[in-house]
Protein backbone atom coordinates (compact mmCIF):
# COMPACT_ATOMS: atom_id res chain seq x y z
CA UNK A 1 0.00 0.00 0.00
CA UNK A 2 1.64 3.20 -1.04
CA UNK A 3 1.17 6.62 0.47
CA UNK A 4 -1.32 7.68 -2.13
CA UNK A 5 -3.65 4.78 -1.37
CA UNK A 6 -3.47 5.62 2.30
CA UNK A 7 -4.31 9.27 2.03
CA UNK A 8 -7.05 8.77 -0.49
CA UNK A 9 -8.91 6.50 1.89
CA UNK A 10 -11.80 8.37 3.57
CA UNK A 11 -10.63 7.21 6.98
CA UNK A 12 -7.32 8.98 6.51
CA UNK A 13 -8.82 12.36 7.41
CA UNK A 14 -10.66 10.92 10.39
CA UNK A 15 -7.63 9.10 11.77
CA UNK A 16 -5.30 12.03 11.34
CA UNK A 17 -7.74 14.48 12.90
CA UNK A 18 -8.64 12.39 15.91
CA UNK A 19 -5.02 11.36 16.40
CA UNK A 20 -3.80 14.96 16.28
CA UNK A 21 -6.59 15.99 18.64
CA UNK A 22 -5.63 13.38 21.25
CA UNK A 23 -1.98 14.43 21.04
CA UNK A 24 -3.00 18.09 21.31
CA UNK A 25 -4.97 17.36 24.49
CA UNK A 26 -1.93 15.62 25.95
CA UNK A 27 0.21 18.62 25.06
CA UNK A 28 -2.30 20.88 26.77
CA UNK A 29 -2.19 18.65 29.83
CA UNK A 30 1.49 19.43 30.18
CA UNK A 31 1.60 23.07 29.08
CA UNK A 32 -1.68 24.57 30.16
CA UNK A 33 -1.51 27.71 28.04
CA UNK A 34 -1.23 25.98 24.68
CA UNK A 35 -4.54 25.78 22.88
CA UNK A 36 -5.34 22.25 21.65
CA UNK A 37 -7.05 23.47 18.47
CA UNK A 38 -3.97 25.41 17.49
CA UNK A 39 -1.66 22.44 18.05
CA UNK A 40 -4.02 20.03 16.32
CA UNK A 41 -4.68 22.14 13.23
CA UNK A 42 -1.10 23.20 12.70
CA UNK A 43 0.08 19.60 13.05
CA UNK A 44 -2.38 18.50 10.36
CA UNK A 45 -1.51 21.42 8.09
CA UNK A 46 2.19 20.63 8.48
CA UNK A 47 1.57 16.96 7.68
CA UNK A 48 -0.43 17.77 4.55
CA UNK A 49 2.22 20.21 3.34
CA UNK A 50 5.17 17.95 4.13
CA UNK A 51 3.78 14.87 2.43
CA UNK A 52 2.26 16.95 -0.35
CA UNK A 53 -1.21 15.58 0.29
CA UNK A 54 -3.97 17.48 -1.53
CA UNK A 55 -6.46 19.19 0.75
CA UNK A 56 -9.37 17.46 -1.00
CA UNK A 57 -8.10 14.02 0.07
CA UNK A 58 -8.07 15.14 3.66
CA UNK A 59 -11.48 16.70 3.30
CA UNK A 60 -13.33 13.45 2.56
CA UNK A 61 -12.53 12.27 6.07
CA UNK A 62 -12.72 15.77 7.52
CA UNK A 63 -16.32 16.10 6.41
CA UNK A 64 -17.19 13.02 8.45
CA UNK A 65 -15.89 14.83 11.52
CA UNK A 66 -17.54 18.19 10.91
CA UNK A 67 -20.81 16.32 10.52
CA UNK A 68 -20.84 15.94 14.30
CA UNK A 69 -21.02 19.71 14.76
CA UNK A 70 -24.77 19.48 14.20
CA UNK A 71 -25.42 16.94 16.96
CA UNK A 72 -22.93 18.73 19.24
CA UNK A 73 -24.77 22.02 18.80
CA UNK A 74 -28.04 20.32 19.68
CA UNK A 75 -26.32 18.71 22.66
CA UNK A 76 -25.53 22.23 23.93
CA UNK A 77 -29.20 22.29 24.84
CA UNK A 78 -28.48 20.02 27.80
CA UNK A 79 -26.21 22.42 29.71
CA UNK A 80 -28.62 25.23 28.79
CA UNK A 81 -31.44 23.25 30.32
CA UNK A 82 -29.44 22.51 33.46
CA UNK A 83 -28.49 26.16 33.88
CA UNK A 84 -31.87 27.57 32.91
CA UNK A 85 -32.45 29.41 36.18
CA UNK A 86 -29.08 31.10 36.06
CA UNK A 87 -29.62 32.04 32.42
CA UNK A 88 -33.05 33.46 33.14
CA UNK A 89 -31.77 35.57 36.02
CA UNK A 90 -29.00 37.10 33.93
CA UNK A 91 -30.90 37.26 30.67
CA UNK A 92 -31.00 41.07 30.58
CA UNK A 93 -27.26 41.31 31.17
CA UNK A 94 -26.52 38.63 28.58
CA UNK A 95 -28.72 40.25 25.94
CA UNK A 96 -27.27 43.72 26.52
CA UNK A 97 -23.73 42.40 26.40
CA UNK A 98 -24.40 40.50 23.19
CA UNK A 99 -26.14 43.45 21.51
CA UNK A 100 -23.50 46.03 22.42
CA UNK A 101 -20.72 43.59 21.59
CA UNK A 102 -22.13 42.65 18.19
CA UNK A 103 -22.81 46.23 17.18
CA UNK A 104 -19.37 47.47 18.18
CA UNK A 105 -17.79 44.46 16.51
CA UNK A 106 -19.50 45.13 13.18
CA UNK A 107 -18.69 48.82 13.40
CA UNK A 108 -15.14 48.14 14.55
CA UNK A 109 -14.44 45.75 11.69
CA UNK A 110 -15.81 48.20 9.14
CA UNK A 111 -13.80 51.06 10.58
CA UNK A 112 -10.55 49.10 10.70
CA UNK A 113 -10.91 47.83 7.14
CA UNK A 114 -11.62 51.39 6.00
CA UNK A 115 -8.62 52.73 7.90
CA UNK A 116 -6.40 50.08 6.35
CA UNK A 117 -7.61 51.01 2.89
CA UNK A 118 -9.47 47.80 2.19
CA UNK A 119 -12.10 47.47 -0.51
CA UNK A 120 -15.82 47.66 0.07
CA UNK A 121 -16.02 43.97 -0.81
CA UNK A 122 -13.58 43.18 1.96
CA UNK A 123 -15.55 45.33 4.37
CA UNK A 124 -18.75 43.41 3.64
CA UNK A 125 -16.85 40.20 4.19
CA UNK A 126 -15.23 41.24 7.46
CA UNK A 127 -18.20 42.82 9.18
CA UNK A 128 -20.29 39.76 10.11
CA UNK A 129 -17.45 37.47 11.11
CA UNK A 130 -18.18 37.05 14.81
CA UNK A 131 -21.29 34.91 14.32
CA UNK A 132 -21.25 31.24 13.43
CA UNK A 133 -20.27 30.56 9.86
CA UNK A 134 -23.66 29.53 8.50
CA UNK A 135 -24.97 33.01 9.33
CA UNK A 136 -21.86 35.05 8.54
CA UNK A 137 -21.51 33.44 5.11
CA UNK A 138 -25.09 34.28 4.20
CA UNK A 139 -24.81 37.85 5.45
CA UNK A 140 -21.55 38.38 3.58
CA UNK A 141 -23.10 36.99 0.41
CA UNK A 142 -26.07 39.32 0.62
CA UNK A 143 -23.95 42.33 1.44
CA UNK A 144 -21.78 41.75 -1.60
CA UNK A 145 -18.82 40.22 0.17
CA UNK A 146 -16.96 37.01 -0.63
CA UNK A 147 -18.78 34.09 1.05
CA UNK A 148 -15.83 31.68 1.00
CA UNK A 149 -13.52 34.23 2.54
CA UNK A 150 -16.17 35.04 5.14
CA UNK A 151 -16.19 31.39 6.18
CA UNK A 152 -12.42 31.39 6.60
CA UNK A 153 -12.42 34.65 8.56
CA UNK A 154 -15.20 33.37 10.78
CA UNK A 155 -13.17 30.29 11.62
CA UNK A 156 -10.04 32.36 12.31
CA UNK A 157 -12.02 34.74 14.50
CA UNK A 158 -13.32 31.81 16.50
CA UNK A 159 -9.84 30.37 16.85
CA UNK A 160 -8.39 33.69 17.95
CA UNK A 161 -11.08 34.36 20.55
CA UNK A 162 -10.87 30.81 21.75
CA UNK A 163 -7.11 31.05 22.12
CA UNK A 164 -6.58 34.41 23.77
CA UNK A 165 -10.07 35.16 25.11
CA UNK A 166 -10.30 33.62 28.58
CA UNK A 167 -6.78 34.66 29.61
CA UNK A 168 -7.10 38.18 28.21
CA UNK A 169 -10.46 38.79 29.85
CA UNK A 170 -9.16 37.66 33.21
CA UNK A 171 -6.16 39.95 32.89
CA UNK A 172 -8.43 42.91 32.14
CA UNK A 173 -10.49 42.21 35.23
CA UNK A 174 -13.51 40.74 33.50
CA UNK A 175 -14.20 37.67 35.57
CA UNK A 176 -17.12 35.51 36.55
CA UNK A 177 -18.75 32.82 34.47
CA UNK A 178 -21.47 35.05 33.05
CA UNK A 179 -19.36 37.88 31.56
CA UNK A 180 -16.72 35.47 30.23
CA UNK A 181 -19.41 33.33 28.62
CA UNK A 182 -21.02 36.37 27.01
CA UNK A 183 -17.70 37.71 25.72
CA UNK A 184 -16.60 34.39 24.24
CA UNK A 185 -19.96 33.40 22.80
CA UNK A 186 -20.51 36.79 21.17
CA UNK A 187 -17.03 37.09 19.72
CA UNK A 188 -16.05 33.56 18.84
CA UNK A 189 -19.24 31.52 18.39
CA UNK A 190 -18.96 27.73 18.45
CA UNK A 191 -15.19 27.45 18.57
CA UNK A 192 -15.08 29.66 21.65
CA UNK A 193 -18.02 27.86 23.20
CA UNK A 194 -16.28 24.52 22.64
CA UNK A 195 -13.29 25.92 24.50
CA UNK A 196 -15.02 27.36 27.58
CA UNK A 197 -17.42 24.47 28.06
CA UNK A 198 -14.40 22.33 28.90
CA UNK A 199 -13.61 24.65 31.79
CA UNK A 200 -17.07 25.22 33.11
CA UNK A 201 -20.53 24.10 32.15
CA UNK A 202 -21.90 27.46 33.24
CA UNK A 203 -19.55 29.46 31.02
CA UNK A 204 -20.33 27.09 28.20
CA UNK A 205 -24.07 27.49 28.51
CA UNK A 206 -23.87 31.29 28.71
CA UNK A 207 -21.56 31.21 25.71
CA UNK A 208 -24.00 28.99 23.82
CA UNK A 209 -26.90 31.35 24.48
CA UNK A 210 -24.76 34.37 23.56
CA UNK A 211 -23.69 32.77 20.32
CA UNK A 212 -27.32 32.17 19.34
CA UNK A 213 -28.37 35.68 20.37
CA UNK A 214 -25.41 37.19 18.52
CA UNK A 215 -26.56 35.40 15.39
CA UNK A 216 -30.03 36.90 15.71
CA UNK A 217 -28.87 40.39 16.67
CA UNK A 218 -26.30 40.48 13.88
CA UNK A 219 -28.80 39.33 11.26
CA UNK A 220 -31.29 41.98 12.36
CA UNK A 221 -28.91 44.89 12.73
CA UNK A 222 -26.49 44.17 9.94
CA UNK A 223 -28.34 45.79 7.05
CA UNK A 224 -29.04 49.11 8.84
CA UNK A 225 -25.45 49.24 10.09
CA UNK A 226 -24.05 48.33 6.71
CA UNK A 227 -25.98 50.97 4.80
CA UNK A 228 -25.03 53.53 7.42
CA UNK A 229 -21.36 52.82 6.78
CA UNK A 230 -21.65 53.27 3.05
Amino acid sequence: MNLREIYEHPLFGVTVTVGAYVIALKVQGRWKSIHPLFVCSSAIIALLLLLDIPYDSYRTGGDLITFFLGPATVALGVPLYKQRQFLRRYFAAILSGVTMGSVSGIAGAALLVWLMGGTRELMATMMPKSVSSAISVEIARQAGGIPELAAVLTVLTGLLGSMVGPALLRRLGISGDMPIGVAIGTSSHGIGTGRVIRDSELQGSVSGVSMALAGIVTSLLFIPLYSWFN
Partner: protein
Protein backbone atom coordinates in the same frame (compact mmCIF):
# COMPACT_ATOMS: atom_id res chain seq x y z
CA UNK B 1 -37.02 18.27 28.09
CA UNK B 2 -39.12 21.15 29.28
CA UNK B 3 -42.13 18.93 28.69
CA UNK B 4 -40.55 16.32 30.94
CA UNK B 5 -40.92 13.67 28.30
CA UNK B 6 -37.21 13.16 27.97
CA UNK B 7 -35.41 12.65 31.26
CA UNK B 8 -32.18 14.58 31.75
CA UNK B 9 -30.32 11.41 32.72
CA UNK B 10 -31.06 9.79 29.38
CA UNK B 11 -29.24 12.37 27.34
CA UNK B 12 -26.80 13.89 29.80
CA UNK B 13 -23.84 11.59 29.25
CA UNK B 14 -23.89 11.43 25.49
CA UNK B 15 -24.53 15.16 25.28
CA UNK B 16 -21.59 15.83 27.54
CA UNK B 17 -19.35 13.69 25.38
CA UNK B 18 -20.38 15.68 22.32
CA UNK B 19 -20.04 19.12 23.87
CA UNK B 20 -16.78 18.35 25.64
CA UNK B 21 -15.12 17.43 22.39
CA UNK B 22 -16.92 20.03 20.32
CA UNK B 23 -13.58 21.62 19.42
CA UNK B 24 -12.55 18.45 17.60
CA UNK B 25 -15.36 18.90 15.11
CA UNK B 26 -14.02 22.31 14.09
CA UNK B 27 -10.55 21.06 13.23
CA UNK B 28 -11.25 20.26 9.55
CA UNK B 29 -12.61 23.79 9.08
CA UNK B 30 -9.46 25.30 10.48
CA UNK B 31 -7.33 23.08 8.29
CA UNK B 32 -9.55 24.25 5.43
CA UNK B 33 -8.35 27.83 5.88
CA UNK B 34 -5.11 26.52 4.38
CA UNK B 35 -6.69 26.45 0.94
CA UNK B 36 -7.38 30.17 1.27
CA UNK B 37 -3.95 31.38 2.24
CA UNK B 38 -3.31 32.94 -1.20
CA UNK B 39 -6.48 35.04 -0.93
CA UNK B 40 -5.58 36.08 2.59
CA UNK B 41 -2.15 37.19 1.48
CA UNK B 42 -3.57 39.65 -1.04
CA UNK B 43 -5.11 41.87 1.61
CA UNK B 44 -3.10 40.36 4.42
CA UNK B 45 -2.44 43.36 6.60
CA UNK B 46 -5.92 44.86 6.42
CA UNK B 47 -7.47 41.50 7.19
CA UNK B 48 -5.12 40.73 10.06
CA UNK B 49 -5.53 44.12 11.72
CA UNK B 50 -9.28 44.22 11.54
CA UNK B 51 -9.62 40.55 12.43
CA UNK B 52 -7.64 40.90 15.62
CA UNK B 53 -8.93 44.38 16.39
CA UNK B 54 -12.60 43.75 15.98
CA UNK B 55 -12.50 40.38 17.74
CA UNK B 56 -10.95 42.05 20.77
CA UNK B 57 -13.51 44.87 20.60
CA UNK B 58 -16.42 42.41 20.58
CA UNK B 59 -14.99 40.46 23.47
CA UNK B 60 -14.25 43.42 25.68
CA UNK B 61 -17.49 45.29 25.00
CA UNK B 62 -19.67 42.20 25.36
CA UNK B 63 -17.91 41.05 28.53
CA UNK B 64 -17.72 44.52 30.02
CA UNK B 65 -21.37 45.40 29.44
CA UNK B 66 -22.55 42.00 30.68
CA UNK B 67 -20.43 42.32 33.83
CA UNK B 68 -21.70 45.82 34.60
CA UNK B 69 -25.37 45.00 34.13
CA UNK B 70 -25.02 41.59 35.74
CA UNK B 71 -23.87 43.19 38.97
CA UNK B 72 -27.31 44.72 39.37
CA UNK B 73 -29.09 41.41 38.82
CA UNK B 74 -31.33 40.21 41.66
CA UNK B 75 -29.56 38.00 44.22
CA UNK B 76 -26.38 37.08 42.49
CA UNK B 77 -24.50 34.19 44.02
CA UNK B 78 -21.32 34.40 41.95
CA UNK B 79 -21.15 30.78 41.03
CA UNK B 80 -18.26 28.52 41.77
CA UNK B 81 -15.57 28.63 39.13
CA UNK B 82 -15.98 25.05 37.88
CA UNK B 83 -12.45 23.76 37.47
CA UNK B 84 -11.38 21.90 34.43
CA UNK B 85 -12.05 18.21 34.41
CA UNK B 86 -9.55 17.60 31.69
CA UNK B 87 -9.09 13.93 31.52
CA UNK B 88 -8.29 12.10 28.29
Amino acid sequence: MFLRIVKLEWVERSAELLTRHMMLFFVPYIVGTLAFLPVLRENGLAIAVSLVGSTLIVMLVAGGVAARIGRKAPLAPESEQGKASANL
